[in-house]
């Protein structure tokens, strides 16, 4: 049964961020789409080297923030001015000023949920299984090594050509990872 495991992709290991970044630039220019760089910490300039666009997390936070503020204002207005109005010290039933602090806090609360869950959604996390996490060597990606992975699902992937490309980029180790 083990004869027919599909390869997931080819991984190339690097020693330092500079080599990884130059290699990433070459892989980007070669036109690959299903590939990624794995680093123990975010490397500055890597987004550009990979040709990534600006992250969309901000939209999720914005949506959360707007929802929070609107819900806060509407909630307070409805509770104190519509559903059960009570006169307190002759103050107006609803004032945007006294309703502001709780609404402001709700803006921040839902905006924060938006950014965390937006980030997780965009990254398709939590993910309880990943072929790379089975690979022993890859465990060093959270320690001090850098990896470039090109998936077999990429239309440009070819078992020999892709390996040749990675070999020319100054990697110290190349391996094919199974699904």
């Amino acid at each position: 049964m083990a004869d027919t495991v599909n390869p997931y992709g080819i991984i190339a290991e690097f020693d330092n961020p500079a080599d990884t970044m130059h290699a990433a630039e070459k892989v980007r220019d070669a036109g690959f789409r299903k590939w990624d760089v794995f680093t123990p910490f975010p490397v500055h300039g890597m987004d550009k080297a990979m040709g990534l666009k600006n992250s969309k997390v901000g939209w999720f936070s914005f949506l959360g923030g707007v929802t929070g503020y609107t819900c806060g204002m509407l909630m307070i207005w409805w509770m104190n001015a519509v559903d059960y109005p009570i006169v307190v010290g002759g103050k107006p039933m609803f004032s945007p000023f006294s309703a502001f602090p709780p609404s402001y806090e709700l803006t921040i609360l839902l905006g924060s949920f938006g950014s965390l869950f937006g980030m997780l959604f965009l990254n398709r996390l939590p993910r309880l299984y990943h072929p790379l996490l089975k690979n022993r060597r890859f465990a060093l990606a959270t320690h001090d090594r850098f990896f470039i992975v090109i998936e077999t699902a990429d239309p440009k992937y070819s078992e020999t050509e892709t390996r040749k490309l990675l070999e020319s980029l100054g990697t110290r180790h190349i391996e094919v990872v199974e699904e």
Binding site: P40, N80, P102, F113, L116, M119, L120, P126
Partner: protein, 486 residues
């Protein structure tokens, strides 16, 4: 120009765990800064040093700290049980001082939390890279301090089973909470603060939990860290979203932390009571909160860096910088005290004037002068480098700062109340043993959680510390850049 460029080997040849054999052209000596991580430690060393704290056999000192903490925590819960079953009469407050230690402790603990958010959010926005060595522990401190704080408002209401009236739920008569009161704002501010602090802390933890997962030796650890790290791989596509989310959370936490203590201060300043009814309260409370929070961070990290041998990551420079923040915020607090007195005189309000003269010369003068000594005089000592670099002195001073800030809240809460407008409403407040044990017990709660944190979670943000080393910079020779980088 040529002699200004000093070529020096940064690593001693042969030293383990260091990046060897690379010579870096250093900037002129006067432009050099002490590095974030000393001794040019390699990236792998950083993982080992930090994650190692939460691995292996539990050290003996940990048990010596943990057992008393649990006992004190138990005392806290016993006192709460006693309070709930007998009533708030077991505490000191009574006519005319109706708000006693509970509110003092609440404001004090919540203030301590502020340093964590300041370090994680505001210093992040200001690109203060030194924050990376201390932000995780400070954020944990925030969360546990807010937990300790949160206990007091709930138990001080007397009938705790009505605590849910604080939330926007209609009570038995279908009445909603009254949002024109700052006490209601406080509920939203504190609960949001706690939730967002936990989110921020957890998000920072995800990559580090993945480090723990990849180092885990046994199945249980592998499973637990694997579960909580959510399948993090370190993919750059993930980092890209992650960094954006982190930036946004920092941007959201900054107005949050400023608003929380402002709203806490409004609990006092909207009251038409001499000594409390002042517009200076919001900024003055925020500065005081950061001041006390940094005091607490120093008290926690100075022993820890020594016991856990993390002096290369939490360096002398880090301690010095924290002392400088303490000095700056302490000076703002001292200035605010001065302005309070000035306005009391300048306002021409005889009650206000009396309240302040009574503070400094009345029956509670001992509390007032303790506050002045610890909050105005003590931080001024941090002007001296000799003091900032002496760990024992800094440790003692940081504890004095916390004592002083507790007394500041005592002055505002108790002294303002103990002499009302008519002499028939005068009194002297004394805490009972239940007050004292409950407060001391919250330290047990705090340290129990903090010690568990040290044992199970990386206490320093591993990936962030790695990210500020020169080895992480692709344009630095140590990061692999050719031709000396740029």
């Amino acid at each position: 120009m040529a002699d200004a460029v000093i070529s020096k080997p940064l690593a001693q040849p042969g030293a383990a765990n260091q990046v060897a054999g690379i010579v870096v052209k250093a900037p002129p000596r006067e432009l050099e800064r002490e590095p974030m991580v000393r001794n040019q430690r390699s990236i792998g060393w950083i993982s080992d040093a930090i994650a190692g704290v939460a691995e292996g056999k539990t050290p003996r000192w940990w048990w010596f700290a943990f057992i008393p903490s649990v006992i004190m925590m138990t005392a806290c819960f016993t006192m709460i049980l006693y309070l709930v079953s007998v009533g708030v009469g077991v505490w000191g407050p009574g006519h005319p001082v109706m708000w006693g230690w509970a509110i003092v402790n609440f404001v004090w603990w919540i203030g301590i939390g502020h340093a964590g958010t300041l370090i994680s959010a505001i210093l992040f926005l200001l690109r203060q890279k030194w924050r990376t060595s201390i932000n995780r522990a400070a954020e944990a401190m925030t969360i546990f301090a807010v937990m300790c704080a949160g206990i007091f408002p709930v138990i001080h209401i007397g009938r705790v089973w009505f605590g849910w009236w604080l939330f926007p739920i209609p009570n038995g008569n279908d009445i909603w909470p009254q949002f024109r009161s700052p006490l209601m704002w406080d509920v939203f501010a504190v609960s949001t603060y706690f939730t967002v602090s936990v989110l921020f802390w957890y998000m920072g933890l995800i990559p580090d939990l993945a480090v723990m997962r990849d180092r885990a030796k046994n199945k249980i650890r592998k499973f637990a860290y694997g579960l909580f790290s959510l399948g993090w791989t370190g993919s750059n596509r993930h980092w890209s979203n992650y960094e954006k989310a982190y930036l946004i959370l920092a941007g959201l936490s900054t107005p949050l932390v400023l608003s929380v203590h402002s709203i806490v201060s409004l609990d006092f300043s909207v009251a038409p009571l001499p000594g409390r009814n002042k517009t200076i309260f919001p900024p003055y409370f925020v500065a005081g909160a950061v001041f006390s929070g940094f005091g607490m961070v120093l008290s926690l990290l100075i022993p820890l860096r020594r016991v856990l041998r993390l002096e290369d990551i939490i360096t002398l420079r880090h301690v010095e910088l924290m002392c400088k923040v303490t000095l700056a915020t302490g000076s703002i607090v001292g200035y605010a005290y001065g302005i309070e007195f000035f306005i009391a005189w300048y306002s021409g309000n005889p009650y206000e004037r009396y309240a302040f003269i009574n503070r400094a010369t009345g029956h509670y003068a001992w509390a007032y002068w303790t506050m002045i000594t610890c909050n105005v005089i003590v931080p001024q000592l941090f002007w001296f480098k000799k003091i900032r670099t002496n760990m024992l002195v800094v440790f003692i001073l940081s504890i004095l700062v916390n004592i002083g800030m507790w007394f500041e809240r005592f002055v505002i809460v108790v002294i303002s109340l103990h002499r009302d407008f008519m002499p028939s409403n005068w009194g002297y407040f004394r805490p009972t043993w239940v007050d004292i044990l409950t407060f001391l017990g919250t330290f047990g709660l705090f340290f129990t959680f903090f010690l568990l944190f040290l044992r199970f979670v990386p206490l320093i943000a591993i990936s962030e510390v790695k990210g500020v080393t020169p080895q992480a910079d692709p344009h630095h020779p140590l990061g692999g850049a050719k031709k000396g980088g740029h």
